[in-house]
């Protein structure tokens, strides 16, 4: 691998926040931390309690960004605006004496205002998300910058929101009739919210939906081919991050008992992002560390810098900005990763329950049935005809190889079959049903599964979790059950299925290793296990032998023979003739987008057209 590629891989691994769910968990440390958090208001002076309140509020917003940025690879500068939405909703509903008649029902109760604020936030997030999430990743942050600025100006200009002076007289939150009107009291509510948010986020990441979210960074095509609706996953994390921010805003409004537009501007939105990145956007703990470090440093710098520079102003931003650039250069995983490295905690492995009930299987087709059929498939790119009336059939229990010289149109054909691309003319049939034009994830659900020419795994995730991603469509538990651990039964079944597939392909020993640590040959086998986890009836393999050593090729060949014997239909696109000819049942040869030969390996090898294509015309 070239130096650049290694570097790029390292950077990728860095940003993907290695092993989010299986992050080192110092559980004794967590307990001690909880006790400290609980005791803090009893012995700390008022100033520090207030500081801790702010840290809690900020950490909640940063936590949303961990999910969005560190895990999902998206980002938002508009989180402060969502905080503002939560804060202003509750301020307007609880502090306005004469609400208009149609809103009167909503006034007075802080808890009702929380629900309304969350609903409103979810609505705005869905609208913003549906506009930007289908576009490439940088449109969301740009959209959120614009949204952050617009909302800030609106807060400042709307009369019923108090303009730039803001709204005051917000009542305290009441819990069982007890008003929380002191910093020491609301402290417990803030930290309860934060800890709950951290817990549910960790639960979510360690689940079926969580794997789908973590797969976003492995490339959209891979995730979609595993049956993941990537737009939906992106929308989920954007909405969840927005809800965290809105809840923080609600607490903030009732803590301050006053709101004005200043803390909800774009610069605060940027500060939230700084917290997530400085702390470590790959871990829920990073949010807490980042919020703590930035809040305390800001406090300190605001005392020191004006004296140093001899003028007053927002100078701490200079320090934060420089710090941010340095962290992105030197320690992409943030401070938490540095701390975690020093902790003696052991790496948690995914618990497997072999006794979990197996997942339902589809009824496999009988041997010889035509599983996948291309009929006169043509794909044009402008004037170029990459596939010209290509037809082929793959039957259950056979291996078909699609071969041809470079540029023959094999990869294009592969894309037509797997739903990554749509043919210009002709049809693709899966068990008699037309699938041309269907999304890759819907084709995956029908029972077609694939691997990639360039291995696409989530290098920081364990082998077994990578395989479980393939079984995505065989589970159904959504975000809420995952957050509250109501999905454990299904989760155990999914993981047990993944473990079974790993045994089937002979990778059981590597089950708990990080996928990125495997050799290339093992990674290709892992991709096959992931494809098998979807319970497919046809496997499409894109150059499975590329880059493998001889022994690895032999192991791969054995595995494919075994799968064929079990009745699987296999189509492989391959360059390696030795590998192909000894293994497959039939061969289709392409050149210049057209089929030039089809038949048994021996026949094809003697075919004059094929010889001409590979060796040039023999005069």
């Amino acid at each position: 691998m070239s130096g650049t590629a290694t570097r790029a891989m390292r950077l990728l691994a860095g940003m993907s926040g290695r092993s989010i769910a299986a992050v080192k968990t110092p559980s004794r440390g967590v307990l001690a931390g909880l006790v400290l958090v609980g005791m803090a208001p009893q012995f700390l002076p008022e100033f520090y309690v207030t500081l801790l309140n702010y840290i809690g509020l900020y950490a909640m917003v940063a936590l949303g960004l961990v999910l969005l940025t560190g895990v999902g690879g998206l980002t938002s500068f508009g989180q402060a605006a969502f905080v503002g939405l939560g804060a202003y909703t509750t301020a307007a509903l609880t502090a306005t004496a004469d609400l208009p008649g149609w809103l009167a029902w909503a006034g007075g109760s802080a808890w009702l205002a929380l629900l309304i604020g969350l609903a409103l936030t979810a609505l705005v997030a869905v609208v913003l998300g549906s506009m930007t999430l289908r576009l490439s990743g940088h449109y969301l942050p740009l959209g959120t910058i614009a949204w952050g600025i617009s909302l800030y100006f609106l807060f400042g200009t709307m009369d019923f929101l108090g303009g730039h002076t803001g709204l005051s007289g917000i009542p305290p939150i009441e819990v069982f009739g007890v008003p929380l009107d002191e910093g020491r009291e609301i402290y417990y509510l803030i930290w309860a919210f934060l800890l709950l948010a951290m817990l549910t986020t960790r639960n979510l990441l360690d689940s079926r939906e969580g794997r789908a979210i973590r797969a976003l960074k492995g490339g959209m095509v891979m995730a979609e081919s595993m049956g993941v609706d990537t737009s939906r996953s992106r929308m989920i994390i954007f909405v969840v991050a927005a809800l965290h921010a809105a809840a923080s805003g609600w607490l903030y409004a009732h803590m301050q008992r006053f709101v004005n537009p200043t803390p909800f501007g774009l610069s605060t939105g940027i500060e939230y992002l700084f917290m997530a990145v400085v702390g470590g956007a790959g871990s829920v703990w990073g949010a807490l560390i980042g919020a703590g470090v930035i809040t305390i440093m800001k406090q300190w710098l605001q005392d020191v810098l004006p004296a140093l520079f001899g003028a007053s102003g927002n100078f701490e931003a200079i320090v934060f900005g420089v710090m941010m650039v340095l962290i992105l250069h030197r320690a992409r995983d943030g401070l938490w990763a540095l701390i975690a490295r020093c902790l003696p905690a052991s790496r948690a492995t995914v618990a497997l329950d072999p006794s979990a009930a197996p997942l339902p299987h589809r009824t496999q087709p009988s041997r010889g049935e035509v599983i996948l059929e291309a009929r006169e498939v043509t794909r044009r790119f402008g004037g170029l005809v990459a596939n010209d009336r290509m037809s082929l059939q793959v039957r259950a229990g056979e291996i078909l190889a699609l071969i041809g010289p470079n540029g023959a149109g094999k990869s294009t054909m592969f894309n037509q079959l797997s739903g990554v691309d749509t043919p210009s003319a002709g049809d693709v049939l899966f068990r008699g049903r037309s699938i041309a034009g269907l999304a890759a994830r819907d084709i995956a659900r029908l029972g077609m599964s694939r691997t990639f020419q360039h291995v696409r795994l989530l290098p920081g995730m364990s082998v077994v979790e990578n395989v479980a991603l393939g079984a995505h469509r065989r589970g159904s538990c959504g975000v809420l059950p995952a957050a509250w651990r109501l999905d454990r039964d299904e989760e155990a079944r999914l993981l047990a299925e993944a473990a079974r597939q790993l045994e089937r392909v002979g990778l059981a020993e590597q089950m708990h290793e990080e996928a990125g640590s495997l050799a290339l040959g093992q990674q290709r086998i892992l991709e096959i296990a992931r494809a098998l986890a979807a319970d497919p009836c046809v496997l499409l393999l894109d150059e499975p032998a590329a880059g493998l050593r001889l022994l690895e090729k032999q192991a791969l060949g054995q595995l494919l023979r075994k799968l064929r014997a079990e009745g699987m239909a296999i189509l492989l696109v391959e360059h390696d003739m030795d590998f192909v000819m000894g293994l497959v049942d039939r061969v289709v040869v392409m050149e210049f987008g057209q089929k030039i030969a089809e038949g048994l390996p021996d026949e094809v090898q003697r075919d004059p057209a094929v010889l001409a294509a590979y060796l040039g015309d023999v005069q």
């Binding site: 740009l142 003028a311 200079i318 934060f320 650039v325 992409r332």
Partner: protein, 345 residues
């Protein structure tokens, strides 16, 4: 509103649209070549305007110290790299551009009394001070992460923006400034009165756009930059270093930004943080062009300029909100016209 007022507002809109167009071009250029969403672009506008204003007031602009400081930082970093590689030759050029050049500039400016110089010379000095900061920023902030994802580059951009705005406050204070008019004349054209300032802005924008077009179409460096934008590795294999491409791009972006600042400084009071909002409007325009098309970005800039001036006539309190909300239908339109799954997300 009668026709005359509409024309007046329209004129205003076209003039600011021309500035947004320049910035949008710079943003598209930087994104195409380096994949960085260049949030700090607006800061050059503020630095350019305020540096010129400081020169006109007769003082030494603090951007000089930034030039020297950034130059020293680059020299140190490159020096360490040179020692590691045991190759001192490249370091000579580094020293020249990052230490000697700023030092000469400081000495020259201290010897002259900038307030007495003719306007053209003041503008040249402003460019000489601010523009070289661009490639230095590339070296310090972007080059070490040049291969990282768009997301990382975007976060770096935001961090650099925050640093530059903070430094802007430190350098120029919270007070805004205006500069002397570029060309104090006005002409009657039909029903309209066109000011010399407007002619300057439009002429400079047109000249710059034509100049960039010629640069990209006719010169080897321009073609090499286009090649880098299309395929970084391919350009590298053809012997065109992406590092050099990055520095050249940032130099051009800084030039465009600083010149925009000089152009608006006589008619707008520029504060240390004014650049950001101006730059963002350039972004709205660039997004119209999908961060890829120069003509669409320029058209978008005109729309933004016109929308802004009409919005400030009808609903001045909501002016900013209206301009930034424009991005929403644009994004919706782009979203509806995008299909398939975007791999580089």
């Amino acid at each position: 509103m009668d026709l005359q007022i509409a024309l007046l507002i329209g004129q205003d809109g076209v003039t600011s649209g021309a500035i947004y167009a320049l910035l949008a071009l710079a943003l598209v250029l930087v994104f195409a070549v380096t994949r960085a969403i260049y949030i700090p672009q607006g800061e050059y506008v503020a630095y350019g305007a305020l540096t010129l204003a400081t020169l006109q007031s007769g003082a030494l602009p603090a951007t000089l110290w930034l030039l020297m400081g950034a130059g020293l930082a680059v020299t140190v970093i490159d020096g360490v790299a040179a020692i590691r590689k045991r190759d001192g030759r490249a370091w000579g050029a580094t020293l020249g551009w990052n230490v000697a050049y700023p030092a000469v500039l400081v000495l020259t400016l201290s010897a002259l009394s900038p307030a007495q110089l003719p306007m053209a010379l003041q503008i040249l000095l402003t460019l000489a001070i601010v523009v070289p900061i661009g490639p230095m920023i590339y070296r310090l902030a972007y080059q070490p992460v040049a291969e990282a994802s768009v997301l990382v580059l975007l976060i770096v951009s935001v961090a650099v923006h925050v640093v530059l705005v903070g430094l802007g406050l430190l350098f120029f204070g919270a007070e805004g400034s205006r500069t002397a008019p570029l060309w104090d004349a006005s002409f009657a054209v039909g029903w309209m009165t066109v000011s010399g300032q407007q002619i300057c802005v439009l002429a400079a924008s047109a000249a710059l756009i034509v100049g960039l077009y010629l640069f990209f179409e006719k010169t080897l460096y321009g073609k090499a930059l286009r090649a880098t934008a299309i395929n970084r590795n391919g350009a590298r294999l053809m012997g065109f270093s992406p590092v050099f491409a990055g520095r050249l791009t940032f130099l051009l972006a800084a030039f465009i930004g600083t010149l925009s600042g000089v152009l608006i400084a006589p008619v707008t009071t520029v504060y240390y943080d004014t650049g950001f909002l101006i730059g963002l409007k350039g972004f709205v325009a660039a997004i119209v062009g999908g961060l890829a098309s120069y003509p669409l970005a320029a058209a978008g800039a005109l729309i933004v300029g016109l929308l802004e001036s009409f919005a400030s006539f009808w609903a001045s309190a909501y002016k900013e909100a209206i301009v930034f909300t424009l991005i929403i239908p644009v994004l919706m339109w782009r979203s509806l016209h995008s299909h398939g799954i975007d791999e580089e997300a």
